[in-house]
Symmetry: C2
Subunit: 342 residues, 2 copies
């Protein structure tokens, strides 16, 4: 593994630049790091397994990007400022070309979001990548799943469903007719959504002390909004539900093209892997943040006192009508990916 | 995976007890944690892969113990006080009996060393366990590999080679004659050393601000002492080497029985997986710490200005003579395990 050692020196060590003076990154039994006074540490961990969380033929650049991106998305959902991350990389063989591309992808996202690598572990085995990312929030100001309140506005940070559609394409699950629904550049953009999710860190940091509840959309909007409702109900000891207005869901041009021939809302509501944020906040905070982040905040519903999630084709005030889950989803509800947090 | 969710609730959530008031463990996108003022965070990560770092038929209790132990050993080597840990667990199937035993092992070591679980990720795939453990040290007081000084005493915290001998037994690599060298209870004790290493956290914490350099013996004493020499040379810009006195190496009764028929020092010097600490410190600090930890500190050599490691059968003052690496190791030098840190 001497060659790999050299590759680590060459490709991974540069990713450790940007630590504070006095902090120590790669090269010892552990890293030594300073946390700003008056702040709490936020720690998130996600594992990607080949063939489960990405196709076995996914590009190493994309795998690295996604491995860090899904963790940064969790930091954003906690309203944390990114600090640093560690990498546990299990590789089936020493393949310098693969490793170089992987390191290049990792460097790209590490620099894009200004988060240095502090070390980790490389082992031999089936391809598995675990990232543990660290950030911080002001004491007591982390954004939790459990803070939703009655009448809160429900928002998402961007388009939903693209990653799920990209996955169908990547796994060759589409008929020729379905392929023809999107232009080549639209297929490109949904594959981009699948392979290179953009964690919403800028918005995330701005939510600290403002939004009431937050989660990132990894399991699908319904499942993740469900987690917010469940945790907030338990905290308030009060039934909470949600109204979702389907006409307000932000959809990319690719998803709109797909929808021209599709009646099921499964992709934007349940496929997951989107890594947008799902948030609840007061009307006043929504108005303020919408001005600040016009392209990263979309009101899609509100928190109610009914148990469960109710779909409307549009808000009642616009003459909308409620729709059954079967009409909306058109098939039994299930998650598209294998993630499970605890 | 609903059954697994219940198991996580039942078996893993109790491991999150013991966090500070205001801190948040399992159940959100991430954990939220307080670090004592005036301290730096220490972060370590190690992955265990089935069939690489433990035999495929290892007991889940032992796998869990070892997965956390090897990380706590890294914290000890940094002189850190243990804080909390996260777990990324990749499982080939949902096997409640396996998971229950795994959780029981994890709880045992988590309680033994008073370190709560703060969350993690479970995924489907080939059995792989990544633990990221966190601790803290007073600002600027982490114990590094790079601090060794000329004339430092070299110590280890306990017996070496047992885990390597245990591995030979676990992998059925022994002849009947070799099997007969140890009693059943001696075999039991070397298997214990392999499967349930005891991280040296008590000693580790006491080293902060006292010892000059430290590392845990995971790759084997020669390799790990080599890391200390290499890092310290680079820092001092001065050649550093070591004298090791073979008669001073602490050996268990099992290893002594093995040595009655064995001339190679490969097991205690190079097999690795021991998770004792290898330390360098001044004579004065050694004297003080030896009083405090009589059974956890063994002087085995000293730091010299010669390049490389030189073996002596005993110290020169006792009439010792230098020995060649070939005489000592009796075979080409190699590591027994697949670990690699960066």
């Amino acid at each position: 593994m001497a060659e790999e050692f050299r590759l680590i020196d060459r490709y991974f060590k540069p990713l450790s630049e940007g630590l504070h003076a006095g902090d120590i990154g790669i090269g010892d039994d552990g890293a030594v790091l300073s946390i700003p006074a008056g702040h709490q540490l936020v720690v998130v961990t996600d594992t990607l397994v080949s063939g489960v969380h990405f196709p076995v033929d996914a590009k190493p650049y994309d795998i690295a990007w996604k491995a860090l991106a899904v963790n940064l998305s969790d930091l954003a959902a906690m309203a944390a400022k990114p600090g640093f991350f560690s990498l546990a990389l299990t590789l089936p063989q020493n393949d310098p070309v693969w490793l170089e591309e992987f390191a290049r992808g990792l460097q790209a996202i590490s620099q894009a979001y200004n988060i240095p690598l502090i070390g980790g572990d490389t082992t031999k085995g089936p391809l598995t990548i675990t990232v543990t990312a660290h950030g911080w929030v002001k004491q007591g100001r982390a954004l939790l799943r459990s803070g939703a309140k009655l009448d809160d506005v429900i928002c998402v940070s961007g388009c939903l469903g693209d990653a799920g559609l990209g996955l169908k394409h990547a796994l060759n699950q589409l008929t020729e007719t379905e392929q023809a629904r999107l232009t080549p550049s639209q297929w490109q953009s949904v594959l981009q959504a699948l392979h290179r999710p953009q964690p919403q860190l800028g918005l995330g940091e701005a939510l600290s002390g403002k939004a009431n509840a937050g989660i990132d959309v990894s399991d699908g909007l319904l499942a993740d909004l469900g987690h917010i409702l469940e945790c907030s109900q338990a905290r308030l000891q009060q039934a909470l539900g949600a109204e979702l207005y389907l006409n307000e869901l932000p959809l990319s041009s690719a998803m709109q093209a797909w929808f021209a021939h599709e009646s099921s809302w499964h992709l934007p509501l349940a496929a997951g892997d989107d890594y947008q944020l799902c948030l609840t906040m007061s009307e006043a905070v929504y108005t303020q943040l919408k001005t600040q982040f016009p392209d990263h905040l979309y009101r899609i519903g509100k928190i109610t006192s009914a148990d469960g999630i109710v779909f409307w084709d549009r808000p009642q005030a616009q003459g909308g009508k409620a729709m059954s889950h079967k009409d909306v989803l058109g098939e039994p509800y299930c998650h598209a990916n294998g993630y499970q947090h605890f």
